[in-house]
């Protein structure tokens, strides 16, 4: 499990070809501003890898370094086993990558079709009829066949995004890099794009996706790295992160009782095998907020609700509310970044980056 952040030096126990992208201490400074700080990422073949973080956390900068658009200040990056610092190896690796970087950019005075033919030239394809066929297929795949001959400047934002995706898929890449792919789309467009990402994954294409939308990442990604202010806060399987969020949640009418319950459960944890721990947590948005504003999170299997009740009753404590909590990245993220009113410590499966100051933890 911890192999997920095995540094490149030890190589972990993965085969080299299973790692599509590995960054080691990847750092980017723009002048004095540290945009990305010592990032260690591993994207494996078949992952739908989510780079998650608020605006300005360094996601786009990271993707641009992967794509050879921005030169790292320090650290190294290996794509398909090639050294990104070597021009030939970088170019050979980029042949296997398709990308949409932030807002799609094309020549406004050319049609969608002509733009894709240009992309084909940039990707080293000839201008044979086979390439033209590929262009038309890509246009069809994103549903732009009807508008293929309209000038790009006349496209709606959604059509521009789709043309970007068509460009990314043009060369039948093994890795698709998408930066905020649903930005500016209406809800239906978002659903479409997410379905498309899942289709890519089913075809065995590795996807590296940056997004600030927690639920989007939760819906489509298999693995996630959480970034904030250039730092990697955690990296792991989405299912593991969610599993750590599952537990029981109790509310008390009296903050003093809450503290007593916390102490009682923490002391019981040592002698009760199924009870893994207890901590204070913030209610999720929209939920009932008890006096004092905090809830008690009990890390225990969901079917032990009665057991928790019994333990509390032994101490003469009675909860005003007891609820099952399903996992959500949002909870996890708030806990990790300390943005919640009070945060539970990061679950054990989280793998904080050694180089980052831990911002989460109990307040």
């Amino acid at each position: 499990m911890d192999a997920t952040v095995a540094p490149a030096i030890t190589g972990g126990n993965m085969l080299a070809e299973d790692v599509v992208l590995r960054t080691t201490g990847l750092t980017k400074r723009y002048g004095k501003r540290l945009a990305v700080n010592g990032l260690n990422l591993d994207v494996r073949r078949g992952d739908v890898f989510g780079l998650l973080g608020p605006n300005g956390s360094g996601k786009s900068t990271t993707l641009r370094m992967v794509l050879g658009l921005v030169w790292p200040t320090a650290g190294s990056l290996s794509l398909f086993g090639g050294d990104h610092g070597e021009s030939d190896q970088r170019r050979a690796a980029l042949r296997r990558v398709g990308a949409v970087v932030e807002q799609p950019a094309f020549y406004p005075y050319l049609s969608g079709r002509q733009n894709l033919r240009g992309v084909a030239i940039f990707a080293g394809l000839d201008s044979s009829s086979e390439t033209h066929k590929r262009v038309d297929e890509a246009l069809g795949y994103v549903g732009l066949s009807d508008r293929a001959d309209d000038a790009y400047r006349k496209y709606s934002l959604g059509m521009k995004q789709r043309l970007g995706i068509a460009a990314a898929l043009l060369t039948q890449p093994e890795l698709v890099v998408l930066d905020e792919p649903t930005n500016g789309l209406d809800p239906a467009g978002m659903v479409e794009v997410r379905a498309l990402i899942k289709q890519l994954a089913q075809r065995g294409i590795t996807v590296l996706l940056a997004s600030h939308l927690l639920h989007e990442v939760q819906q489509v990604c298999t693995r996630v790295a959480i970034m904030k202010e250039g730092n990697l806060l955690a990296q792991g399987e989405v299912s593991d992160l969610l599993a750590a969020q599952i537990g029981l949640q109790l509310g008390f009418d009296d903050p003093a009782k809450l503290q007593q319950a916390l102490a009682a459960l923490q002391s019981a944890a040592g002698s009760t095998p199924w009870l893994r721990g207890a901590s204070l947590t913030a209610p999720e948005p929209g939920a009932w907020i008890p006096p004092g504003g905090q809830l008690l999170f009990v890390d225990a299997p969901l079917d032990q609700a009665a057991g928790v009740n019994a333990l509390l009753a032994d101490a003469g404590l009675y909860a005003a509310e007891l609820r099952r909590r399903e996992g959500s990245l949002e909870q996890y993220f708030l806990a990790l970044t300390g943005d919640g009113a009070s945060a539970s410590p990061p679950p054990p499966t989280s793998v904080p980056s050694p180089s980052t100051p831990q911002q989460g933890g109990a307040a």
Binding site: E17, L94, E174
Partner: protein
């Protein structure tokens, strides 16, 4: 893993790219850049401007020719004194004949001055003089827009996030600018040939076909003329790359042209004054020769060397700017512009 997953492949280094592929890719990119230039509305507007302004100049010249040819030769009568004039000596018939001959010579000289620009093959030389002012401004605008708009449209990342290298892109852009310069010059020369074969003869000037040597001069002239424009498109290239915008590319290139003209004129003027009226003759001489290091003077000298004999399409560049020296100086300028663009582009982060 997924059954349809692509085969795990060997490290990227195995698929290193061959030199042949590199060149073929650059050729494709060059064609693409030319296509981009052609598809821009601006290109068509600039071509129309060039043709119209040339037509206007040719029109003025034709008008002047017509004026000169229609001037009546003074009759013998007009040389006679008015009846009541005192101190007036009526010229003898021989004197009148002499005056009429002088007048005809003068008229022929001024006619030649105006008819050369519209008579083949000297019309080619005039077309160059014209295009080195108007065409130069327009081609620099086009070059600045072509390179600079890549930043405005953020389209650079399309190429650089693929396997197109920055050097390849720059070489392709440079080739494209060279081709555009040659197309413009070829177009100008064709226009000038048409004018020279129609307008001149229509106004009564006789046209003779150039000798073989004349044709060779025209070919050399074509290349020197193209180069004189191309060198300035590289100013637009480095300026647009430096300023990451069309405005920078166009503005700095036009600024360069104007600055050369002004500074060159001022230095030559002050130098002449110092040399002739002041005591400081050496300084005057030096000042006058500073513009010999300017790009415009050197490409102009190359044009002069290419267009000397037998037609004399361009003015004599004088003894100081030899062919070899002008060529070397011009090439150094081009190398600096290209190298500077490469240094800027290769180190830069593409954050547009």
């Amino acid at each position: 893993m997924n059954a349809t997953a692509p085969q795990a492949s060997a490290p990227a280094s195995v698929t290193a790219l061959s030199a042949g592929t590199w060149v073929i890719e650059v050729m494709r990119l060059t064609r693409w850049e030319l296509y981009l230039a052609w598809r821009r509305v601006m290109t068509k507007v600039l071509i129309i401007l060039l043709v119209i302004s040339y037509a206007i100049v040719v029109g003025f010249i034709s008008f002047a020719i017509v004026q000169i040819t229609n001037q009546p030769v003074q009759s013998g009568q007009s040389f006679q004194c008015p009846p009541d004039a005192t101190g007036c000596v009526t010229p003898s018939p021989q004197e009148i004949q002499q005056m009429q001959q002088d007048q005809a010579k003068q008229r022929a000289a001024s006619l030649a001055q105006f008819s050369d620009p519209v008579t083949f093959p000297t019309s080619l030389g005039f077309a160059a003089t014209f295009a080195r002012i108007v065409g130069l401004l327009l081609i620099c605008i086009l070059a600045g827009a072509l390179i600079g708009s890549e930043y405005g449209y953020s389209t650079q990342r399309l190429a650089f996030s693929r396997d197109t290298s920055r050097l390849q892109m720059l070489v392709a852009q440079t080739f494209a600018l060279a081709v555009i310069s040659m197309i413009l010059v070829a177009g100008m020369l064709v226009l000038a040939t048409l004018v020279g074969l129609t307008v001149g003869p229509a106004l009564g000037v006789s046209v003779s076909a150039p000798s073989f040597g004349g044709w060779m001069e025209i070919v050399k002239f074509f290349f020197a003329f193209s180069f004189s424009l191309f060198a300035y498109t590289l100013v637009a290239l480095v300026a647009a790359t430096l300023g990451k915008s069309t405005v920078a590319g166009v503005g700095l290139a036009l600024g360069w042209i104007v600055l050369e003209l002004i500074v060159g004129g001022v230095l030559t003027g002050i130098g002449l004054i110092l040399e002739n009226v002041g005591q400081n003759r050496d300084l005057g001489h030096t000042l006058q020769h500073i513009p010999d290091w300017f790009l415009g003077n050197n490409v102009g000298a190359l044009l002069g060397h290419a267009g000397q004999y037998p037609i004399a399409l361009a003015p004599d560049p004088g003894p100081d700017l030899t062919f070899a020296r002008s060529l070397i100086v011009s090439l150094i300028y081009c190398a600096i512009f290209f190298g500077g663009s490469y240094l800027l582009l290769s180190r830069r982060d593409v954050t547009e």
